[in-house]
Amino acid sequence: MTKTILTVDDSRMMREMLAKVLKDAGFVVVQAEDGVDGVRVLAECSPDVIITDINMPRMDGYGFIEAVRGTEQHRAKPILVLSTESDPDKKNRARAAGATGWIVKPFNAESLIGAVRRVSA
């Protein structure tokens, strides 16, 4: 069955790039431009995997992950963090918020797809 991925990133370029890579791999892609937008999108659809950036305006990735984990519908969704940061403190903060995994930008398509497949049942 085709899997749906929600990508949350304030960079349009990054969203487009993710969409291309994921669509080429056969996923359906839904986009949101920050945490606030992501929460709004999640009220309307139920993706199989969520990929989120950390540094975003309005609501950052940590806040977004917490918000997702706080919902009844999406609390057990795999959430991958895609960030240029690789600072252990920040990763731990993301884990504490409920992130499933962490991918460092710039990503290569194969490892991204691999990571998505690994967390999607």
Binding site: M17, M56, Y62, G70, N92, A96, P106
Partner: protein, 691 residues
Amino acid sequence: MDPMDAIKATYFQECDELLGDLEQGLLALELGTGDSETVNAVFRAVHSVKGGAGAFGFEELVTFAHVFETALDDLRSGRRAAEPALIKTMLRAADVLADFVVAARNGTSPDEARGRSVAQELAMAEEPAAPIVERRTDEFGFAPVVVEFDLPALESTPSPWQVRLQPLSAMYAKGHDAILFLRELGRLGEAHTTLIDDELPPFDQLDPDKSYLRWEIELPADVDRVRIEEIFDFVGDDCLVSITQGAVEPATSTPAAIVEAVIVEAPSAPQQVPLVSVPLEQKADVAAAAAASPTIRVDLDRVDRMIDLVGELVINQAMIAQRVTESGIARSSAVAIGLEELEHLTREIQDSVMAIRAQPVRSVFQRMPRLVREISAATGKLVRLVTDGEATEVDKTVIERLSDPITHMLRNAIDHGLEGPDQRLQAGKPAEGVVRLAACHRSGRIVIEVSDDGKGIDRPRVRDIAIAKGLIAPEAQLTDEEADNLIFLPGFSTAAAVSNISGRGVGMDVVKRSIQALGGRIAISSKPGQGSTFTMSLPLTLAVLDGMVVSVAGQTYVAPLTAVLESLQPKPADIRRIGPQQAVLSIRGAHVPLIDVAVALGLRDHPIDPATGIVLLVESEIGGRAAMVVEAIHGQRQVVIKSLEANYRHVNGIAAATILGDGRVALILDVDTIIEHQAGKAEPMRFARAS
């Protein structure tokens, strides 16, 4: 276009926005009006530029952005204070970053020496322990997690792997699923999996959020240990994992005893990972999130197409209205009332569509601080730029053409308006000059003001220059305003002060011309010793125009209202002939040349008696005024501009065309060319006959 090229184009477009945000943010910090969110926004901007640059392999850009980002992170975390010197360096770094982006876009190599020197300054105040290194080493940040434990002595023949897996409930709460691990392990080789469910309570006591199950998996000995570990990359300490090679000990009933592993972040940071949950600053406001208004991006062509269609609609509506009036239908009839409503709706649609194209002038204003810094550095004058009204909206086509005139006015204000620091101190002013750039809406136009608190216009000197250049007669009596406006005359250039800043061979006359080409006006007011203010006003859109509908040789033309100062019926006594074809009109003591529009356009050979017609007093780019003679005025009307070049070809003396309510095409007069042409030679411009 190759999809990656399209994404790259998006990236650079985004970079422009980000660099604008960056500069705005830093300027706010410099002024002390920024807060922690400003610092965050500035950090995000650099961070995003770097992120994209990494994706496209712009190494120099990544390296510089990284240093910048590190410094900003220090600022964000409070390790460094937002001292003026640091912010100044960061503003320079923002300029360098912009240059690096441009270099990446053009495929040229950036000025690395400058990059290095600014990078060094940025890193200067950093703690010596913080090295500037590329952190992009591991692809998966939670990985690789090394699980260490006491290995049993290796036997000569390798025994199968024993993997013990005990998920904690936290693991499920983070979106992991044990089945995925089992599936992955199964892919590595033949796996013998044992489910241990001795902790599973009776169904009625089952807590769906708790983890009760654990597994033991035996894998062939030839499987690479790293590949087993990889599977648990993401899960961290939310799942207790042990990987051993050797004889299986019977599973104990206390699962916590299975693993006594020290989980270590590897390889770069060999310290123990604290398992403390970090309090989160930002709580999700779900309700507010849901209420946020979404935006969409629309292709500009589509909007332009819509504007065209609405233009047609306006014309069509006017035509129907005219037909209805002509057919003598009563105003109270249902048709007339319905038509009135249609007219109302059409106007509203037109306004709404115009509003779609409207953009804040911010995008232009944002480019100016850098310009000011550069001019300031080149002239040695201390300048502070204050901007106001960045949110003022104007049509996109107008925005694109605002940049040049504003640039010129700013250059002029700093180079000619402001004094040097010493001179200012002598005059009792602060050493730092202030240049203010402001935008606002005024009576359906956008008004842009550039003012400085410099020395003001040196009127006696301007007057001397104008006389020396033969622009005015030595005995001319000029008001202050007239004297100030001399600087807009072509050929007037305060030659002594031409520098490589305002210079470039471009005078204020060119600025004025480019503004007039947009249907705008520019004026100056100045107070000696206190400064000058340039005010330019422009129409909000180039798609419609307020015009005066006139008759010329029996045909209908439209004169742009912005060019018309006044209209009058001249008295025969005020008309002075100065030749067979030429005459001047005396208006309140001043003489302006009379131009017969019909003759100028080649519609007839001899001018009519101006006293039988109407005179439009117009102002041209030459700075002079002229009186254009037409036969009659039919009123003022907003007309939709149709390009003549796009539909036919360029015609001298004609700016564009429009379609009137009766369906006829009317040409819009190009007042400047008509006057300029008339001033040059008396030959009429042929081929301007309206169809």
